[in-house]
Subunit: 343 residues, 2 copies
């Protein structure tokens, strides 16, 4: 069987957007959700690419998300801007408030964006990268479904709680990292289960809190944080800052609210933006030049900077298009033709 | 030989303070430096207790720190407050600006404190704990001396770059963590060297970038970040946010400036304070009550919350006093009698 011909990033964007429009998303919402999904596919992040379309459609069908939600910005004029996703996807809410966040951070030096009451499915790198492209350093974090036990604990309590950071680089893509604070993603354990192979030690514990390499026992038990007690502390911090601080769901509540992990979680998110120009003004130094000295020295040692594989894939996708499998193309056809009825 | 009788926290405070006064610190500077050193000893953090007195005296004697520096606050009225330590210790600068930081965070929801041009020797938990006691969530970070190689790299480039977080708890000590983003502290490797024992795998690489368990080879090479590439990314973030962003020294420059690790490093520090009342206001939820649900559930699983050992030691020290060794007491006597001439 021959490999299907690649399609351009723009064509994929148009196809995904038409699917979401047919599912009842407003043009703005469809644009924002499409943007982040196509970016994932473009960057060869398959786990956050078109694979996510079905999950988004499912929460629409189940009535768990409002496809036509209109994000509502609440601005007190201070350092904290809030945007209520109004039970819509997180991405339109972020994009609705992004310009104000950038302006506020450049005005005050430091600003926060609180996203309330959103369905969340996307990688955080998309947001911190967008802010870094505007010249800002950015932190982003959110809870998820309780599936991770604290180090020394026995039961799922924390989410995989992703933590992302972006730093602007004058002549190249930003420095961006984005990772789960669990050792592995739940999907990686699922892949081992399907393949019938054991998971590495240190990934998970079973229902009784004992270490396990059995994927089934791990899925019935809990994942573990990365980096032992230090990673567990960071996962707890994410839970406190992006859950408790905002008055939004913690990972345990998000799970209880949805009744399982089969649908996307609903919770809030916290994004901090810091303006290097403001912070460094009195020093007489160029903060981005200092950043470059560090980052080029890291790369010069042969150490990998995070996101480099994504940026390489992006370049390839832009010049050569994106190659999808027959099955993926058939699914796009089906979703385009039938919309939510395809599920 | 009988164990010396314990001395009270207050008596130790008075003795340490008189040493620093005799070394030329202003009363405010002596108070702030004494406060953090006695807190370390009180909490049985020996690595940040009275052991630090000698290191502080040494930088005074070498002219690397200004004992009578007066911290200078620069306030633009926005979300970023700066305090120039003016080549003094970091602690008086923090305490000079703390009240303003607390007020600003409560007014704007989120505020940053930049400490410029300070000598740094103290644990970061002291500052985030002080902010949490005021009802604020707080993050603190700073570079240090380049002694850690990025994951996949071969040479020291990052500092041990501590990262600390505090969260207020209504009826108990705050949730506080504070850790080096390296696997181990340099002092731990030094202890293995003296004992003639190998260091655990994963702590360090030798001069050629190869993994080593030989403490001498490790000290000549580089330490490694905790948690693999994720910890390395966080260490890099600390370098960018608490170094480049502020226009202050990066860890490599701090090392070059001092010409070695035998004296305390000079650099800046970044502290972020977030007000749970502001962030949660529109949610109708009590952020601290939500935090308690998480933290009591973690402890309820038998998982250790960070800093619990410190708080237990603090209680003991307050009721039973602090027991110092004969050698430690003799050193206090010597420093009190001779001041800088004791070195």
């Amino acid at each position: 069987m021959s490999t299907p011909a690649p399609i351009s990033v723009e064509e994929l964007h148009q196809r995904v957007q038409s699917i979401f429009l047919s599912c009842g998303l407003t043009p703005q919402n469809a644009e924002a959700v499409t943007d982040v999904i196509v970016a994932g596919e473009r960057d060869h992040c398959k786990s956050h690419g078109i694979y996510r379309i079905e999950g988004c459609m499912r929460v629409i069908k189940e009535g768990m998300v409002k496809p036509d939600a209109i994000p509502e910005i609440v601005d007190t004029g201070k350092a904290v801007i809030e945007v209520d996703a109004n039970a819509g996807f997180s991405n339109p809410a972020f994009f609705a408030a992004k310009e104000m966040l950038v302006a506020r951070a450049k005005e005050t030096g430091l600003a926060a964006l609180v996203i309330r009451d959103c369905l969340h499915f996307s990688a955080l790198w998309h947001d911190v990268e967008a802010l870094a492209e505007e010249g800002l350093a950015a932190l982003s974090m959110c809870p998820s479904y309780a599936s991770v036990a604290p180090t020394g604990g026995t039961e799922p309590l924390l989410g995989t709680n992703p933590f992302a950071f972006g730093w602007p680089r004058p002549d190249s893509h930003p420095y961006v990292f984005d990772f789960a604070t669990s050792v592995a993603a739940r999907g990686e354990i699922e892949l081992h289960r399907r393949a019938g192979t054991p998971i590495p030690e240190g990934w998970a514990i079973d229902r009784d809190g004992n270490p396990t390499t059995d994927p089934d026992a791990a899925l019935a038990g809990a994942m573990l944080p990365f980096g032992g007690h230090k990673g567990s502390a960071i996962a707890t911090m994410v839970e406190l800052l992006a859950g408790a601080l905002l008055g939004e769901f913690m990972s345990k509540e998000a799970l209880e609210f949805s009744g399982g992990t089969h649908l996307l979680p609903r919770h809030g998110a916290l994004i901090l933006a810091l303006d290097p120009t403001t912070f460094s003004a009195r020093s007489g130094r160029d903060p981005l030049a200092e950043g470059e000295r560090l980052l080029t020295a890291i790369a010069g040692q042969g150490a990998r900077l995070p996101s480099q594989r994504r940026f390489k894939a992006r370049k390839e996708s832009r010049s050569q298009g994106i190659t999808l499998s027959e099955a993926e193309l058939a699914q796009l056809d089906l979703f385009e033709a039938k919309g939510l009825a395809a599920l």
